[in-house]
C-alpha cells in the first residue's frame, strides 16, 4: 500500500514539475512563433505583389502598401491599385500545398502566385514552386475555371501548361486554385 502511494506521489510530483517547465517554455516561445508565422504570410504577400523589401523593412513596407480586409473570417490583402491577394490551400500528392495568389483589379485575371508550402516530389512535382512554372499563370483567367493542360497545349486564356512528369501535382494545384477561387470570389464581390 505504501509502495503504491509512493508511486503515485512520485509520478504526480515529477509530472507537475515538468508541466510547469513546459508552460514556462511555451510562454516564452509563443509570441516569437506567432511573429514568425505573421512574417511568413507578410513575405508571401509582398512576394506575390512583386514589392521589394528587406529583412528589416518588411514590417514597414507591408503596413505602408498593403491593406488587410477580413470578410467572414477570410483575409484579403489589397493594394491601392485594386490588386487583391489571398491564401489558397488544399492537398497535394504527398502533403498539403499552401500558396498566395494575386488577382488583378478586374478580379478575374491572375497577376501572380507564390507557393508558401509544399511537399511534392523534389525535382518533379516540387517544380510547382519554381518561378518559371508560376510565371505561366500571369494573365490567365480564373473565370469560369482554370485548366492545366499537357505541356505546349495551352491556347485559351484560362489554360496553363502543366509540368511534364508531374501530372498529379499539376492536377492537385488546378483543383486547389479552382475550389478556393469559387469560395473566395463571391466574398470579393461583396467588397
Amino acid at each position: 500500500m505504501k509502495d503504491r502511494l509512493l508511486m503515485i506521489v512520485f509520478i504526480l510530483v515529477l509530472g507537475s514539475i515538468l508541466t510547469i517547465s513546459l508552460i514556462a517554455v511555451d510562454n516564452y516561445t509563443a509570441p516569437i512563433i506567432k511573429k514568425n508565422n505573421e512574417i511568413k504570410i507578410k513575405k508571401s504577400v509582398l512576394d506575390v505583389f512583386g514589392i521589394p523589401y528587406s529583412k528589416d523593412t518588411i514590417e514597414k513596407v507591408f503596413s505602408d502598401t498593403v491593406e488587410i480586409r477580413k470578410i467572414q473570417n477570410k483575409t484579403f490583402y489589397i493594394l491601392k491599385n485594386g490588386d487583391i491577394a489571398f491564401e489558397i490551400k488544399g492537398s497535394g500528392v504527398w502533403g498539403p500545398i499552401q500558396a498566395m495568389i494575386a488577382l488583378k483589379s478586374d478580379k478575374k485575371t491572375i497577376n501572380a502566385m507564390v507557393i508558401i508550402y509544399q511537399e511534392e516530389t523534389p525535382g518533379l512535382g516540387g517544380r510547382i514552386a519554381d518561378k518559371s512554372f508560376l510565371s505561366r499563370f500571369k494573365g490567365k483567367k480564373v473565370v469560369p475555371e482554370l485548366i492545366l493542360v499537357a505541356h505546349g497545349k495551352a491556347k485559351g486564356v484560362n489554360e496553363v501548361n502543366a509540368i511534364t512528369g508531374a501530372t498529379l501535382s499539376s492536377k492537385a494545384l488546378q483543383k486547389i486554385i479552382n475550389t478556393n477561387i469559387r469560395e473566395y470570389l463571391p466574398l470579393i464581390g461583396r467588397m
Partner: protein, 205 residues
C-alpha cells in the same frame, strides 16, 4: 598507459556508443528518423542536435533520480521526461529556426518514439551514475549524428547536387530523384549498415 585508459569505464562507454554498440548499425534503433530526415544535411544536423539534447537531458534527469524511481512506473517516468524535453526542442526550433522546423515537420515530435532514448534510459541511465550516463548520452548522440549526417551527405549530393545548399555537382548534373525520396534512404542506410557491420565483424542476430 593506453591499456589503462582502455579499461576505464568512461572509455568503454564512449567506445560502445560510437562503435561497438552503435545505436543505428549495431542495435538498429532510431532507424525511422534516420530514414525520414536524412535527405538534406541541414535537416540531419538539426535532428542530430535535437536528439543529442534530449539524450543528455534525459540522462541527467533519469540517472539523478535512478534511486528514487519506483521500478513499476519507470517506463512512464522515462516517457514523461523524454516527452517534455522533445516538446522543448520542438518549441525552440519553431521559435528560432522556423524553416528547419517546417522541413522536419512531425519528426521532431517523433524523437519521443526514438528507441535510442528509451533503450539507453532502460539499459544504462537507471544503472549508472550521472557522469557516466552523460558520457553515454554524448557517445550515443554522436554515433547517431555521424550516421545521419553521412547518409544525408550522400543523399543530398546525389539527390540535389548540393551539400548544405551549396552546389557541388557540375552544371548539367541530373538529380537522382529517388535519393531525395524515402526509397533512397533505405538504399543508402542499408549500404551503410552493411559496410559498418562488415568492418566491425558483426553478424546479424
Amino acid at each position: 598507459m593506453l591499456k589503462q585508459i582502455k579499461n576505464t569505464e568512461g572509455f568503454k562507454t564512449i567506445a560502445n556508443g560510437l562503435w561497438r554498440d552503435h545505436p543505428i548499425f549495431s542495435m538498429v534503433l532510431g532507424i525511422c528518423s534516420a530514414l525520414a530526415v536524412s535527405n538534406k544535411v541541414d535537416n540531419a544536423i538539426a535532428m542530430s542536435g535535437g536528439v543529442m539534447f534530449v539524450l543528455i537531458a534525459t540522462a541527467i534527469i533519469i540517472s539523478m533520480l535512478r534511486k528514487l524511481i519506483p521500478l513499476r512506473v519507470r517506463i512512464i517516468t522515462f516517457m514523461i521526461v523524454i516527452a517534455s524535453f522533445v516538446i522543448i526542442v520542438n518549441k525552440f526550433l519553431e521559435a528560432f529556426f522556423p524553416i528547419i522546423s517546417l522541413a522536419l515537420g512531425p519528426y521532431v515530435g517523433l524523437i519521443i518514439t526514438n528507441c535510442i532514448l528509451m533503450g539507453r534510459a532502460e539499459a544504462f541511465y537507471t544503472h549508472n551514475n550521472t557522469w557516466l550516463s552523460v558520457l553515454d548520452a554524448i557517445a550515443n548522440g554522436i554515433g547517431y549524428s555521424y550516421t545521419l549526417i553521412s547518409v544525408a551527405i550522400i543523399r543530398e549530393l546525389l539527390g540535389f547536387g548540393t551539400i548544405l545548399g551549396f552546389r557541388i555537382m557540375p552544371a548539367g548534373w541530373t538529380n537522382w530523384v529517388v535519393m531525395s525520396m524515402a526509397p533512397g534512404a533505405f538504399f543508402v542506410l542499408s549500404v551503410f549498415i552493411w559496410l559498418t557491420r562488415t568492418l566491425a565483424k558483426q553478424t546479424p542476430d
